[in-house]
């Protein structure tokens, strides 16, 4: 440091001296006294330079000793590295903690639709507002997890309603086990727990009709209010996934399945399981297969003798999900037992297959779905959209940017049951449901 300061000091002193000495005009007219004064100053300056130079040498002589002393006290490099690593981790953890406390970010999805029919309620036509979906997942600690999905959506009557579609609080023991309590998507098949409510997420414009949400024409219990244990066990060539759940039994209210969010009145319950294996690597990379089933005691909203049916479902599914392909097949078989009126067992089936190709320019897909629902089964007969049907659809998705997409679909749907009015619900004709119809649909979906 001192050495650095001395260098310019020397230069300045020499500069002053040289400048002084190089003033010929002034020197010419100077007196001898002035010359003597200059000579004296020059001598003083030279002495000062010599003194400073000696001091610098003295200090430089001490420097190596100091360095050696410092080197002798240097810590073990590995220990130093470990300390640095620890400090880095602490800084990271602190920064993360500070950010976690900075507030809860709000994210979600929204969509609007145009078509010659409403994509869920075909008796309506034109433009329709789909849903505004707010997704919240507050972090409550290392192991306490929570999730809420609050949706504003247009219902069958055309009015906007609010629905707490999912509300779960859970405890994560580890990757192998998490317990959730609350309202969740019932773990069956692939679509119901993979694609959720944000329509932007799915390549297809809408879910298959029979596995749509209860208030959008679906006939299966898409939501359960209860307890859900889920986890994954990793294997060398993939992972094994499991789900076990139990909750309030469903109730049919006004022709629509309700998951009894506030608790049920009759102690009826649903219980089920799903087992899956997701391949990772090899020829089966991207493939997931699974089986699932549940049993559900379903009531309706009649004031007397509301117990309706024991719904028993078994199903299987397969998904091939890669950078290039998205193929989904789900199949369900129902063996329901009447608990009210004439006893008996009814068998129904429903399945769909969807094949999609993920091109760089978009995702074209084709889907066929079929539901053969026994109308002597009160579970299907009492539901407004419980008719058997088939639907074939061809669609495409284009991504405008990372947060928005536009989808188109043409579809043909035919209801294959004649559903006259019952003492519980009006006929399909009275509701305005066409027996068969062709659709041209467009959807603008975003995430935020």
């Amino acid at each position: 440091m001192l050495h650095k300061l001395l260098t310019p000091a020397r230069a300045i002193v020499l500069g002053v001296i040289l400048s002084t000495a190089s003033l010929p005009a002034a020197a010419d007219s100077a007196t001898d006294a002035k010359l003597e004064e200059l000579q004296r100053k020059l001598d003083q300056s030279l002495k000062m330079i010599e003194a400073l130079g000696a001091r610098v040498k003295e200090l430089e002589g001490h420097a190596p000793n100091a360095a050696v002393a410092a080197a002798g006290a240097a810590p073990d490099p590995r220990r130093l590295e470990a300390v640095e690593q620890k400090v880095s981790e602490i800084e990271t953890a602190n920064a993360t903690r500070q950010a976690d406390d900075s507030g809860l970010p709000i994210h979600g999805f929204a969509d609007v639709n145009v078509g010659n029919h409403n994509l869920y309620f075909p008796y309506a036509k034109g433009t329709n507002v789909g849903s505004l979906d707010f997704y919240l997942a507050p972090k409550l600690g290392d192991r306490v997890v929570s999730l809420a999905e609050l949706i504003f959506e247009t219902g069958p009557d055309g009015h906007v309603g609010t629905d707490l579609e999912r509300f779960q609080i859970g405890y994560q023991f580890n990757d192998q086990a998490t317990v959730w309590v609350g309202r969740f998507h019932t773990p069956y098949g692939y679509v119901n727990t993979a694609l959720h409510h944000g329509v932007w997420l799915a390549d297809a414009l809408r879910r298959p009709k029979f596995i749509n949400f209860e208030d959008k024409g679906g006939v299966m219990p898409a939501h359960t209010v209860g307890v859900w244990v889920t986890g994954a066990l990793r294997e060398a060539d993939g992972k094994f996934l499991y789900d076990f759940y139990a909750g309030n039994g469903q109730q049919i209210q006004g022709g629509t399945l309700d998951m009894q969010t506030g608790g049920n009145l009759h102690g009826a319950a649903i219980a089920g399981a799903r087992l899956s294996f997701q391949f990772n690597g090899g020829a089966a990379d991207g493939l997931m297969v699974g089986v699932n089933g549940f049993t559900d005691k379903v009531n309706d909203d009649r004031t007397t003798n509301p117990t309706l049916v024991r719904l028993n479902m078994m199903g299987a599914y397969a998904v091939y999900d890669t950078d290039t392909w998205e193929h989904i097949v789900e199949a369900y078989s129902f063996h329901d037992k009447n608990l009210n009126g004439s006893p008996g067992t009814h068998r129904s089936e429903a399945w769909f297959a969807q094949f999609g190709y993920r091109a760089r320019w978009g995702v074209p897909y084709v889907r066929y779905e079929r539901a053969m629902l026994d109308q002597s089964d009160a579970y299907f007969n009492e539901q407004t959209f419980g008719a058997s049907y088939y639907r074939s659809a061809l669609g495409v998705r284009f991504d405008i940017n990372a947060k928005s997409s536009i989808k188109f679909e043409i579809a043909h749907t035919r209801n294959t049951d004649d559903r006259p009015a019952t003492d519980y619900r009006p006929s399909d004709a009275e509701i305005g449901l066409p027996q068969q119809f062709d659709e041209i649909l467009a959807q603008y979906a975003v995430r935020f």
Binding site: E89, D175, H196, D321, D323
Partner: protein, 196 residues
């Protein structure tokens, strides 16, 4: 000729050299130039050494980001089950690799997993095998949840999770050979290789 231009006569008729004045002017001009055009102002630029540590590559080997200094580094974040944006990012990286190969330049491509819970080293290893991303200068990294969040914040990778899905954007950061952040690439860049 030049000497003549730099020589004037004063009132007394004596020649006064202007060399000294010219040199002073040059020094002043250079000083002004230095003030107006600083060589490189790296203040505020993130350095690889300032990023979180504790990363493991797809063979479970420790990798220090600071250790990659000496080559340019192009870093992105991805998750292995992403089939929409991440494949496009990998395509851009492959295109950039071809460009730097043509120049004979060595560049390290770093892909940090958004989802450490699911994107283990084994999963990333399979990812690169199934996609033929076998170059040694491509590093697929997994870290702790805290380190992942911190790195995303420091480098400006916004993301959120929707159950098993990671909502994110196409983005990459280029670091120079000294480890300083030099450029950010995103959806506004039609071809990322143009930024090299």
């Amino acid at each position: 000729m030049f000497k003549g231009r730099c020589t004037l006569k004063d009132d007394t008729g004596k020649r006064v050299s202007l060399h000294r004045s010219a040199m002073m002017c040059c020094v002043a001009a250079l000083t002004l130039l230095a003030v107006w055009c600083p060589a490189e102002d790296l203040r505020g630029s993130v350095n690889l050494g300032e990023l979180p540590q504790g990363w493991h590559d797809d063979r479970s080997r420790d990798l220090a980001l600071a250790g990659l200094r000496g080559h340019r580094v192009i870093l992105t974040m991805a998750y292995a089950s992403c089939h929409r944006l991440c494949p496009a990012t990998m395509d851009e990286f492959k295109r950039m690799q071809r460009v730097v190969d043509a120049r004979g330049e060595i560049v390290d491509f770093v892909i940090v997993g958004y989802d450490p819970k699911n994107d283990s080293p084994a999963v990333w290893h399979q990812y690169r095998l199934s996609r033929g991303l076998n170059r040694d200068n491509w590093h697929f990294l997994s870290g702790s949840h805290a380190a992942t969040l911190q790195l995303a914040r420091q480098l400006g990778f916004p993301f959120w999770t929707y159950d098993e899905h990671v909502m994110h954007e196409p983005r990459a950061v280029i670091f120079d050979t000294r480890g300083f952040q030099r450029a950010v690439l995103g959806s506004r860049n039609s071809r990322w290789s143009d930024a090299l």
